[in-house]
Amino acid sequence: MRRPNPLLLSLPQRTERPDVPLYIEPVRGLRAWRHARQDDGRILLYPLVMHSESPWPVGEWVTAQRHVSGFGDDHAAPGRLCNCGIHALASKDALLRQYGFTIHVLGEVELAGRVIVHSGGWRAERARISAVFIWDRSILDEHRRAQVIRDAEATASTYRVPLVHLGIPARRDS
């Protein structure tokens, strides 16, 4: 008996809201993380703002948990009238402006599921790491710059994603 084509089976099902545009390519956003070297030499990434001790998983999607507010409101993330969900920026310049001079690991994520589009980025239901960035850190001293680059390389190796060199736009002094 002929088996069904797995590609056809993986086609997205109808969304519960037909007026919401459906995309089959992940949205690509930009993020920063805290990072910590493990005893085995791997570097795992952690959320910046959630004070979570749960690292982003390797090779898997992160799914935003339902958000329960202090007022008892319980909703799936990302909620339209909330700030919940997995945040990502749209612009490399914005990412570097916010985090370019920190020691955080920066990188790219794929976003999926319900996604709220904002003027400067997204709030998403699911995300997974797709690249780690390194860029010109000439502001740092040589020792610290080498450490930052080693951390980025180890992070890319841990998460089995490409290490991407970011170009820095020319400074406009006028």
Binding site: I24, V27, L89, Q98, G120, A124
Partner: protein, 44 residues
């Protein structure tokens, strides 16, 4: 993460995950069939 600006719209993204097949784990659906034994000259 902050400063992602005002909301514009909602979309839904369901990526199509292509099945990955490695050299070590051939998909039986697409496995190469056993080669047909060569016919003896007399069969020509």
């Amino acid at each position: 993460m902050t400063h992602i600006g005002p909301e514009i719209e909602e979309i839904r993204v369901e990526p199509i995950e292509l099945p990955t097949v490695t050299e070590d784990e051939p998909d039986p659906e697409y496995a190469t069939p056993e080669p047909t034994p060569a016919l003896a000259p007399a069969a020509y």
